[in-house]
Symmetry: C2
Subunit: 474 residues, 2 copies
């Protein structure tokens, strides 16, 4: 069977670039750089990821809305840090038809400045709080760096939840909920991650603090899949989002946001894939099981009937199953579905039918075994559990192996992956460490108990308050 | 119970403007004209409509894709009539960050010019045909006329299917399929409509011919909900979408498109609603049944238990049901759910529980009746059938009553609704008839057998080839 031209462990980035097109996820030939076409298979995969997000939002009482894409310049310019952070990254509409607009409009890079003028109309009293809404929409950023499918693009498939609360503590509760959502969500996709509290100089423009959700890609670069922000009242003041308290006074809301993007697909492809193609976790696989009839002349009917029985059995319990009855060789079918990462393949020929058996082949391990046809539903579900476990543990092992806690930059110099190093708290030292390690500051571990004991900043030698993480990043 | 300030039959347009906000479908206070915020209830409703569309696309083997929003000016300008038709209606991006772009990009008003350069790469041989894809995305048109929620907006929630075929006849087959899709879809939403073959001078920019899907709103204006286009090879030539035939020669594809938009919501609101609010057909109602416990002190438990039983019973058969256990009066709950158009309300108090009865109230007719709790699932489904029938027939009766087939403009002068009048085929006569009737040319009936016999153009007196329809339009 042909494999990818680039090998994953030889040149991860090239392998990645090749596989996203080969597996029909996207087409990068669209004439604007960084804006790719979602092909049917890629879009289905994204939809399954979105479905998990919708479920989590429903469980946590977030309401789905949909805001306009365009934002007037005047709405955008109300929060100073936000403009500073995003001003150089937005696309501007200046003309409509043949007319110049009176005011320029921008394409949302994120929707704070579209939503918050409306929140200020929607929220009147504490009875309106908490307000918890979200949307999944296209957003736009003018990337000048090299683009990469799903990872660095200019039109982004974006999830954003926005919440408003009576006070800081209630907003903190929301952030705790957001962290739980992230844990459940990424576990379903077999993606172990770390939370990092981003450093002051690299938090979201306008935020009080930012927690990032980072995974480690096989190239030993981290990829930020999402972020959770505490805004305190930084936006509610300029946007006048206030409410009447029980006592009849007025108070500003405290706000949070939670954002994620199609980068999740980048992680699914990059972390689980191999030289044969994608390896999809069952929860998000557009097709979870593919049945391949092995047909010999004269035996077509009994084989197809058996396939249909298995199909019915699996459909009944909600499995996304497909019978591949195309007129090509079984080998070509194996190749196709391995490339597309279908978690489980069922092969069935005349002799299998006679023995009431079928052959199961796991995509993640290649493991084959014969099992009774009648138990298809039960066994498939068991194996999905094993696949989840295997994909998660493999990725977790890689992540754990590549987080290095060291005490000096010298120790870190030749290490790959994520470096944790004691840090005094000064930006200057952190930036210097970045220089030496040729990496970026990711942020601190968020667990307060996780503080260095009797350690000193590797650069200035002052007492170290925290561990700070560094990595090369996408 | 309070009703809308404007009465539907007194001032339909004002009633409509009021109800879309009152029922929480959208918020029109966003600072850009014609770009409204979808509130949770409106977005849910739109999602349910989309779900019906997705189902139809799946059944007819259309694949879902997602193309970039932005189109380079050079791609846009390949088909002359298309530019002429849309050039004055598009939004232009000229700057990114602080830089002026080398080439201007526009926001898609529709995606022909985004998709077709890619189709030309995707299609190689006749084995790649037919290509049938669709997407549901935001599109943009610079409307200068008065905007109206869902009906005339500048950011449009848009469905577009695009197909490529080996020849004209195969594209015609697609159009037949599209018409069947429209029939199934709008019947589910209880929206009777007419197909009109749009006149030459008012077809889609670049099309060979256009069939519109029009409904008649209670104001006696028609609203175009969608359109189906035969492009022949008008686009495939400039965009070079060709394939290798069986014989090894090259031929241009023939193409069709099918578009619909959030205007469907406008029709659902306008046609079915009344002075109490929305009236949603069960197929698309975000909540299909609401259960209102009528609670008296000491009897809370038995009532709530009965509600829960009914709820479980209905959930099991896939009904979208909700128990409203808020601490407000039943009357206020009735008001809320009537406003939101929930098709069926169940009221249940202690005495009902004793008798193992519940009270059903239909939103469309107001009809009340007591029925056995145990039969909830069966009866609710029956009543949904009756509601569908009633909504459809009521709308159909209105439509039929207001299509007037006449033989002269004089006969038509004082008629409201849709006028069918014999027409010679000359644009000049049609435009003059528009003037006299103060309406727009809708188009001809598409049924070929439906031709005027021994009739003469009401204007020039020449022999009339066709019936032509006129109406005031949105």
């Amino acid at each position: 069977m042909p494999e990818t031209k680039c090998k994953k462990d030889e040149d991860f980035n090239e392998w990645y670039n090749e596989i996203v097109e080969l597996a029909d996820l996207c087409d990068k030939r669209y004439p604007i750089k960084g804006m790719n076409v979602w092909r049917p298979y890629g879009w289905k995969l994204m939809n399954h990821v979105d479905k998990l997000i919708h479920e989590e939002m429903r469980k946590t009482n977030h309401q789905e809305v949909n805001f306009p894409l365009l934002i007037p310049e005047s709405s955008f310019k109300k929060e100073e840090e936000h403009i500073e952070g995003f001003g150089s990254e937005v696309f501007w509409i200046t003309h409509a038809g043949l007319n110049q607009l009176e005011e320029r409009w921008l394409l949302r890079p994120t929707s704070e400045t579209a939503m918050y003028p409306m929140f200020s109309l929607w929220i009147r009293s504490h009875a309106d709080l908490p307000l918890k809404i979200y949307q999944i929409v296209n957003t736009f950023r003018y990337e000048t760096k090299q683009t990469r499918a799903f990872i660095r693009v200019r039109e982004i498939h974006f999830f954003e939840a926005h919440t408003c609360h009576v006070n800081f503590e209630s907003a903190e509760d929301q952030i705790r909920e957001d962290k739980e959502i992230a844990k459940r969500l990424f576990e379903k996709m077999c993606l172990p991650f770390i939370f990092c509290k981003r450093p002051e100089w690299d938090k979201f423009a306008g935020a009080y603090y930012t927690i990032s959700i980072d995974v480690l890609m096989p190239s030993n670069r981290t990829l930020q899949l999402g972020s959770i922000h505490q805004y305190r009242d930084n936006f509610s003041k300029p946007y006048e989002i206030s409410y009447e308290t029980d006592e009849g006074t007025h108070a500003y809301c405290h706000q949070t946001t939670y954002g994620m993007s199609e980068r999740i697909l980048g992680a699914l492809v990059g972390i689980h894939g191999d030289n044969k193609g994608l390896v999809m976790p069952p929860e998000v696989a557009p097709r979870q099981v593919v049945i391949i009839p092995i047909i010999f002349k004269g035996k077509e009917r009994i084989v197809m009937d058996a396939c249909k029985d298995i199909y019915d059995n699996l459909i009944k319990i909600g499995i996304r199953v497909h019978i591949d009855d195309r007129d090509i060789t079984p080998g070509n079918k194996y190749y196709d579905w391995e490339l597309k990462g279908v978690p489980l393949r069922i092969e069935i020929g005349p002799r299998d039918v006679e023995n009431q058996q079928m052959v199961l082949v796991r995509r993640d391990t290649g493991e084959k075994k014969s099992v009774p046809i009648q138990k298809a539903d039960e066994i498939v579900q068991q194996i999905f559990g094993l696949i989840n476990q295997n994909l998660y543990l493999k990725a977790k092992e890689f992540l754990d192996k590549n987080i290095h806690r060291v005490h000096s930059v010298e120790e870190a110099r030749n290490l790959e992956g994520i470096i944790e190093i004691p840090w005094c708290g000064n930006e200057k030292c952190a930036l210097e460490i970045e220089n030496v390690l040729e990496g970026n500051t990711l942020g601190e571990p968020i667990d307060d108990s996780d503080r260095p004991d009797n350690c000193y900043c590797s650069l200035c030698g002052q007492s170290a308050e925290k561990w700070m993480r560094y990595a090369r990043t996408y």
